[in-house]
Amino acid sequence: MDNAQTAKTERNFVGLSSIDYRGKPSTLCPGCGHNTVSNQIQQAVFELGLMPEMVAKFSGIGCSSKSLNYFLQRSFGFNGLHGRMPTLVTGACFADRRIKAIGISGDGDSASIGLGHFKHIIRRNVPMVYIIENNGVYGLTKGQFSATSDLGLELKHQGKNFLPPLDLCMEALISGAKFVARTFSGDIKQMKELLKAAIMHNGIAVIDVISPCVTFNNRDEALQSYTWGRENEAPIQDITYVPRAQAIHIKDFQEGETREVRLHDSSSIILKKIDRDYDPTDKHAALDLLTGSYKNHYFATGLIYIENAPTNIYDEFDFVEEPLNRLTPDRLRPDAAALERINLMYH
C-alpha cells in the first residue's frame, strides 16, 4: 500500500477518513498559497476528530473566499460579501453554539473594506478561527495594491506603492484578541498545529497566513512572496498541539526549552524555544516582536500571543442549553396571559 492510500484509509476517532474532509477541486492558480491553507484546515479538522457537520465555514469575496469551497464539503458554508464575513458569523454562531466557525478572508476583506468588522468581531470575542490569507495584493481583480502591500512594492499596472502596510496581527492584538498567530504557506507543519490550537481555543483566534499570490505578487523581493518568506522566515517557536486526552511526555521536549500553554478544554500547546526565549503570554513582547520584525526585515511566525479565554460572547447571555435554532415554536411565543398584562399596562 502506498502512502497516499494509507492516508485515505486511516480513520480518526469519529471513524471518518480524510476523504470525508475534502472539498471541491480548487480552481485557484496552481501553486496558490491558499490551497495549502485549505489542505491544512481539512487535515487539522480530521486530526482533531471533529465531525465535518460540526464545523461551519464563512468567507467574503476574493480568491481567499473562493477557497472556502475547496475544503470540508460536508460542512455548511456561506460565501457572502466582500469584507462582511465577520458579520455573518456574528449572527450564525448563536444558532448552534456547538458549531466551530472558521472564517476565511483576504487582506482586501480584513485590512480594507472590512477592517471595522475585523476589529469589532475581536471585541465581541465570537468563538471562531479568523484566518486572513494575506498575499498583499488583490488577486481576483488582477493585481492591485492591498492595505498589506509593502511600502515601495511595484506592480505591473500600479506603479510603486507609496502607502505603508497594516499589520493585521498588530490590529488584532490591540483590538483585544486572545489568540494571535502568523504563519506561512511554506510552513505547513506550523500552520496545521496553529490551526488545531486555534480551533480548540475558546474565543476568537486570529491567524494571519502569509499566502503568496503566484500570479500577481511573487517577485522574490516582495514581502508576501514564497522566496522572501522562505529566506526570511524566523519561527519564534516550534509548535505542537496536544489534545486533551493525550498525556504529555514532557521528556520529549528538552527541559527549560519548552513552554506549555493550556487551553480552556485542557488540551495544550507545547512551544519549543528556537533561538530565543519568547513569552507569547506577554502582550508587550508581542507588540515588540511585530514592530521589530517589520523594521528589521525578518518574518516572525508562530504563536505571537495567547491568553487564556475562560469566557466568550456566549457567556454574556444566559441561554437555554439546546441550540437556539432547534427551539420549537411553543418556546418562542409568549402566552396570551402575558399579552393581557401588556394591554392592561397601556390602558
Partner: protein, 610 residues
Amino acid sequence: MDHPIVHTQAEHNASVNDFCMTICTVNGSGSATANTILYRALFNMGIPTSGKNIFPSNIKGLPTWFVIRVSERGYIGRVPYDDIIVAMNADTFQKDLTYLPEGGVVFYADHLQKPADARTDLVYYPMPIRQFVRQAEVPRNLREYMENMAYVGIVGQVLGIPMENIEYALGKHFGSRQNALESNQNIIRMGFEWAANNLTKQDRYSVRKLSPLSDYILTDGNNAGALGALYGGVQFCSWYPITPATSMVEAMIAHNPKLRKDPITGKNTSIILQVEDELAAAGAAIGAGWAGLRTMTATSGPGLSLMTENIGLAYFTETPMVIWDVQRVGPSTGLPTRTAQGDLAMVYRLGHGDINHIILIPGSVNECFEFGWKAFDIADHYQTPVFVMSDLDLGMNQWITEKFAYPEKPIDRGRILWEEDLARFEGSWGRYKDIEGDAIPWRTVMGNQNPAAPYFTRGTGHDECGNYSEDPQNWSEMIQRIKRKLQNSCEYLPGPILREKAGARIGVIAMGSTDPAIIEGQDQLEEAGLAVDYLRIRALPVCSVVREFLENHDRVYVLELNRDGQLYGILIQELHDYSPKLISISEVDGLPMTAIWVKQQILAKEQQNG
C-alpha cells in the same frame, strides 16, 4: 404644506372634546412626563386622544412642541393649527401665537415676556408656575421639570379634566415610585387649586367624560412593533442606533427579559445585539436567519442605504429576515426627527440587479404589533427579506389603538428540513430545487448532522444544489423562480382595507400612517358633497383587490407623504393597464398629513379632472 385656515366663530363655538392643544417647550426640559400625564388623563376620561411630539434633532435647548388632539368623533390625525397653546418657551412664544384661531387659548408661564403686540383676539391665562415650585421647595435640579408638571394642574382645571383622571395617569406613569408620585401630585394639585380660585373660564374649549375606552390602549408604534416581534418569536436582533428606529429596539430590550424566558428552563431564547454599523446589523441578521433563527433588524433610511448590498445577498441566497424601516425624511441625513413615506420606491427594489421585496405597511399602532409577528411567518414561509415600513409619526408618537390581539395563527417556520426529514427526499433534495412546484424550496440549516444536509451558500450564480454556475439557462430559471415566489406571496400578505362611501365613483389609495388623515378627509369630502372610496394598501406586491378597485372607479387618487408619488409610481408600473385612471397627490414637509389637505387637494384635482 401651507394650510390657510379660515375659522369662523360659528365653527368654534363651545368646543367640547374637540380641539388641538400644543405644549410649546424647550427640549431636554423634562416636559415629556407632564405631557404624558395630560393625554393619558384625557384617554382615561374615554376621549379619543393622540399625542405628537414635534421635536428637533437635538438633546437640549431647542424648541419642541407636543401636540395633543382630542376628538370625540375619533379623528386622531394631525390638524394644521392649534386651538390651545401652553407657552413655556420664550423663544417661540410670539410665533406660536400665530397658529391659533380667533378665540384661541394661551396658557403661558407668567415669567415669559408676553409680546407687546400680542393678539387681542385670544384668551390668555397666565400661570405663576415658578411661584408654585418655590412654594413646594423643589430641589434645584428638579425645578425646570416641576415647572412643567405645574401646568398640568392649571390646564386640567380650566379644561375640566377631573383630578381623579389626572391621578390615574400619575399612578400609571410612576407606578410604585411613591416619592416621585407624591411630589408630582403635589405640584399638579397646587396648580389645579390655584386655577380654580384665581382664573375665570373665558374660553370655549372643554372636555367631558365619555364611556370608558375599554377596548383601546395608548402607546406608540415602535413599542407595538417590538412587542409584535417578541410575539413573533424573534430570536436574533442585530442593530445600530438611528432615529427614529432606536426606540423600537430599546422597547425590545425592555420587554425581552419578561417575555422571552424559556417556559421550560427560564433561560433566554433570544438575543438583541448592538453592532458596529448597519452593514454589520444586516450581515449578522442574515447569518442568523441563514442558520435558522428568527431574525430582524430595525433601521431608517440612511441605515437602509448602508444595508443595501446585504439585502441583495439575503434575497438571492433566499435567507429569511425581517427589516423594520421606521422612515424619516430623506435624502441624505435629511430631517432625522420628522416623518415621511419617502423610502418606499427604494425599498421595493432595494439592491442591484433584478430584485423586489415583500413590504408590509402598518397603518396603526395595532397593525405594528400584528405585522410585527406576521413578518416573521412571511419571511420564513417565502425565505426572503420582509420589510415592515413604519414611519416616525406612527413609530414615535402616542396613539389610541385597539388592544393587541393574540396571534390567531401558530408560528410558521416555513420549509426547514432536520436530520430525519431528509430521508423523505431519497437524495433528491437540493437547496434551491422547486420540489413542491410553488417556487419555494426546502432548506436545511447549520447544525443539521445529516451528512446530506450541508450545502454551500453563495451570492454568486448557483444551481439548484447551490453549486457555482454561470450557465445562462440556469441563471434565467433561478431568477424567474424567485420572481414567481414573490409574486405568489401577494395573496398571502395582509390585504387592503376598503372604506366605502355610498355611490362613490372616485377612489383614493393610500398607505401607512396617513390613515387617520385620509379617513377624516374622506368624511370631510362627503360633507362637502363628494363621495370617495378609500383603499388602504397594506402590503406589496399588490394583490388582485387593488386591481378590482381600479377597475371599479373612474379616477383614483394616490395620496402619500413624499415628493414624487412613490406608491403611485409602483402602481402605474405594476398595473399599467389602469395607469390613465391613477392620479398622484403627494407632498412632504416633515409633518404628518392632515385631513384638510386631503380634502383641499382632492377637491382641487376634481375641479381639473371632474
